[in-house]
Symmetry: C2
């Protein structure tokens, strides 16, 4: 079983910094990376981690809770902790809490999104690799499929944009996009209407952006995204 593999590797790593929580935190994080633990995989139980790392269960709990706060794992009572796929959600709260980003300031959020994405799509058009292009295409396929099935496609929409920011080759830009994505989703989940004509329009706009990136045309990419964000910009206008 997977747990066995993990425990075996922990035996090798018995010379762990057992002093501070942060080290335990990093140990577990490294463990996740080292074994390529993916979405759905279970972490060893707290007791076993405690025993194998040679630290108290409290330290393990503390570290795991931090991981959960980051959204890296999701711990379920009386069951265990599993790796979550996309691990960004907590950062959202962090932004609100620590940077004192007041709740209803969606205008700033949308404004920033437009700025970031415009920069990202330009860089993506310049730098995208073949693999990244394929990822964007797949994201677009997922999006299209959802739309044509009349299912909610907001998540797939955002994922399309995230693959673009990833293709920008700028990790910070991509990180910022991941940072604000949950807020975007939360906001538009509330009010976005999804009638058919508008949905197909979105597909076409996405295709235009995709095509520009495929052709590595920076001006076209920027302009296509600009068109795609027309409604967003109207939203900004109407709330000034």
């Amino acid at each position: 079983m997977l747990n066995k593999v993990i425990q075996d590797s922990l035996n090798i790593n018995h010379a762990i910094d057992l002093e501070e929580d942060i080290h335990v935190f990093n140990s577990i994080k490294d463990l996740i990376k080292k074994h390529n633990l993916e979405e759905g995989d279970k972490l060893p139980s707290e007791r076993k981690l405690s025993e194998k790392l040679g630290v108290s269960r409290n330290q393990i709990r503390s570290a795991v809770q931090k991981l959960e706060f980051y959204g890296i794992v999701k711990t379920m009572p009386q069951s265990g902790s599993v790796i979550t796929g996309i691990g960004v959600p907590a950062i959202n709260n962090m932004m609100k809490d620590v940077l004192e980003l007041d709740a209803p300031d969606f205008k700033s959020l949308v404004e920033t999104r437009i700025i970031i994405e415009n920069a990202a799509v330009r860089l993506a058009a310049q730098r995208r690799t073949a693999k990244e292009l394929e990822e964007i295409e797949n994201a677009q396929l997922d999006f299209t499929r959802k739309i044509l099935n009349n299912e909610p496609a907001l998540i797939e929409d955002i994922k399309f944009h995230l693959t673009i920011s990833k293709a920008s080759g700028n990790k910070v830009l991509h990180g910022i996009m991941k940072l604000i994505a949950p807020d975007i989703i939360a906001h538009f989940n509330k009010e976005q209407v999804c009638d058919r004509t508008k949905a197909e329009k979105l597909i076409n706009e996405h295709n235009d952006v995709l095509e520009a990136i495929r052709n590595q045309s920076v001006p076209e990419a920027s302009e296509s995204l600009n068109v795609h964000f027309t409604s967003l910009k109207n939203y900004l206008q109407n709330n000034n």
Copy 2:
């Protein structure tokens, strides 16, 4: 079992789950605000907080540890937890952890900084209030003073730019700037030489930006910042 994992991975509303988990966290944060606790003030003891908030001491501990991880408080064994300044440095570490921003990716950082600041200075030129303009002027005065005294002025430099992003009126942009500022400082602290002629050139460039914001001229502001970032852009070129 499997169903559970699948359901959980499909659940994108992590925020809702988190909200209950971090209720105590927010309570303590509110308490800090409500009592106007400032830097150096001590937090009530864990036991008192436990009693006052009506939750177990474990929950309090968990929340306080999160606050410490954010750098909001610093807890000292057998003594107590004190409020630290604004906990931006901790955020910085967290960015590295969560966004997997590996050390030598300063190119992305600088690139992003240019993008963000260009957007910020344009917005600042449009929206700056009289008070914000004054803050920028004061920041520039501090910067100039340091330079003329031949003292290190990197912090004041960054602060000047932060007051501009603040004046943009976009809290998210400003937040992002605060987010990446420590990394920028850390990097340039290592290698930037500060000879006199270059320093005075920086003062003039800052003055140009300031003047453009004062005149509320968006093109001038953008162009002045562009000039100011010439060396940064060269840095990007040379590292491609």
